[in-house]
């Protein structure tokens, strides 16, 4: 009984680390040219959400089971690698990050935890840190280390969460395990420069349809932007997981 209770409490206690916020040199500057993104203080989950955690979520909210979810919220790839709507099976261990979840399902999970998906700028800020520095992005060695992960073929078995080194902000797995959903994924490819609005060639977007970014050296981050922008909110992939954010100071499990 005691062991069960301990296991349950350990499993349900999602940890959030406070992130101070501030000004961020982003690959997606707010003005489309060079301005710094202003990020308010927030809290971010230290680990990506696991299969085990997501399993408990669909048990508590059966409308998110893969056999019951409304098609407008998730396509047929949703949790397709689980052995059943309520069992993860061998192909998805409880400690691995959950993947093949739609944006809607990820957002609903985060709301169930009193949170939300992080914005791109929040995610990007948190992912700039290495083990000792909160912003290691100008270090060519750091860039290469991250790129090395992207160079590995996908389709390998995912590592359990929390096995990569903890970064200076107290977060794990920002690189090296899965890609992650962000709240504003649909719109990152839209130009931040709305002076282009008058160009009739580009009216599909109320602005330019092209990615305009700073920091072109940061290929690893740009790949994330490109990948996320290619998705619809109903899709998921086997390499795409998520973690949740909360308001600053809300670090309660």
């Amino acid at each position: 009984m005691l062991i069960l209770a301990l296991a349950a409490s350990a499993a349900s206690a999602a940890e959030y680390a406070p992130i101070p916020g501030g000004e961020l040199r982003s690959v997606l500057p707010p003005d489309g040219k060079s301005s710094l993104a202003k990020v308010e203080p927030y809290a971010l989950r230290t680990l990506p959400v696991t299969n085990g955690e997501f399993l408990r979520f669909v048990e508590a909210h059966p409308e998110w089971r893969r056999d019951r979810v409304a098609g407008i919220f998730a396509d047929s790839s949703y949790l397709a690698h689980w052995t059943s709507p309520v069992a993860t099976g061998d192909a998805a261990t409880l400690e691995q990050p959950v993947t093949a979840v739609s944006w809607f399902a990820a957002e609903a999970y985060c709301e169930s935890e009193g949170g939300r998906l992080p914005t791109w700028h929040e995610w990007e800020m948190a992912a700039a840190a290495d083990e000792t520095r909160t912003d290691a992005r100008d270090d060519p060695q750091w860039r290469e280390r991250i790129l090395a992960w992207y160079a590995k073929p996908s389709g390998r078995e995912l590592a359990p969460v929390g096995k990569t080194p903890r970064n200076a902000l107290g977060l794990y797995d920002m690189h090296g395990v899965v890609w992650e959903w962000v709240e504003d994924f649909a719109g990152m490819m839209i130009s931040g420069d709305n002076r282009n609005q008058g160009d009739p060639e580009l009216l599909k977007f109320c602005g330019a349809g092209a990615l305009s970014t700073q920091d072109r050296e940061n290929y690893a981050i740009l790949m994330r932007v490109a990948m996320l922008s290619s998705l619809t909110a109903q899709q998921g992939t086997r390499n795409l997981g998520f973690r949740c954010a909360r308001a600053a100071g809300d670090n309660t499990p």
Binding site: P30, D31, G32, S35, H61, P62, E63, W64, R68, A70, G71, I72, F73, W103, F104, E107, A108, E111, S112, R116, E183, D184, A186, G187, M188, M189, I190, S191, G192, N194, Q197, G198, P200, L203, K204, F205, C206, G207, A208, T232, A233
Partner: protein, 229 residues
């Protein structure tokens, strides 16, 4: 789980009690009307009316299709400050889009594109069509601001609704509609300009992003959706 918790297939109507009492009312009317029909000899007309009434009652009771955008349960406020839910828009063929009132250039073009589509319809079809414009900027687009757009753009209040969601729900609404947007630092928005045609159940029938010029395919889809059964 504020927004999603009420979503679940098959989604129950807000109140079973209300449904039962509606049915009771219909049954009562049926008895009264039958008596009336016998005395007046207009049984055929009454029977037809009853069929229509029952059909309308059934439509509201059936579960939404799983691919309906109305599966998303959101609170809306319209240009008259009336509260409604997204699924209350069910029941009419509808063109929807997203915009914001301060948009200097493209948003007026969205309105014009819808008007151009309307003008291509005959009177009967046009009378059956509804239009909903959802704001990307609920903070600034108060009901008063939406009302102003309605009067300045001369949008028929019987058929055009301008609506806002809660701030946190804008992204979800855009996601079910497949609309991309990005807020800029000067509080402007860049967004995909799409007209989306929904059937009466909220399923996407057609989309158009050709807002600067006529889009005959989209007009044809609207016309087909509004054709009498």
């Amino acid at each position: 789980m504020k927004v999603f918790e009420r979503i679940g297939p098959p989604s129950p109507p807000p109140s079973v009690g209300a449904r039962v009492s509606a049915r009771t009312r219909i049954a009562t009317w049926r008895v009264l009307l039958r008596a009336h029909a016998r005395s007046c000899g207009i049984r055929v007309a009454v029977a037809l009316l009853l069929v229509l009434a029952c059909h309308a009652a059934m439509a509201a009771d059936t579960p939404l299709p799983r691919d309906s955008v109305y599966q998303l349960d959101l609170a809306l406020t319209d240009q008259d400050d009336a509260a409604l839910r997204l699924r209350d828009l069910r029941g009419h063929v509808r063109i929807v889009s997203m915009f914001y009132a301060n948009c200097p250039y493209v948003c007026p073009m969205i309105v014009e594109a819808i008007k151009r589509t309307e003008r291509a319809l005959d009177d009967d079809a046009r009378a059956r069509l509804r239009i909903s414009l959802f704001t990307l900027d609920p903070e600034r687009d108060t009901p008063e601001a939406l009302k102003r757009v309605q009067s300045e753009r001369k949008l028929d209040p019987m058929r055009w609704q301008l609506e806002r969601t809660g701030l946190a729900d804008v992204r979800k609404l855009a996601a079910v509609l497949g609309i991309q947007y990005r807020q800029l630092e000067n509080r402007e928005f860049n967004h995909s300009s799409a007209l989306i045609l929904l059937d009466a159940e909220g399923r996407v029938l057609a989309r158009s992003s050709r807002i600067g010029e006529p889009d005959p395919e989209f007009v044809a889809a609207v016309r087909a959706a509004l054709a009498p059964p």
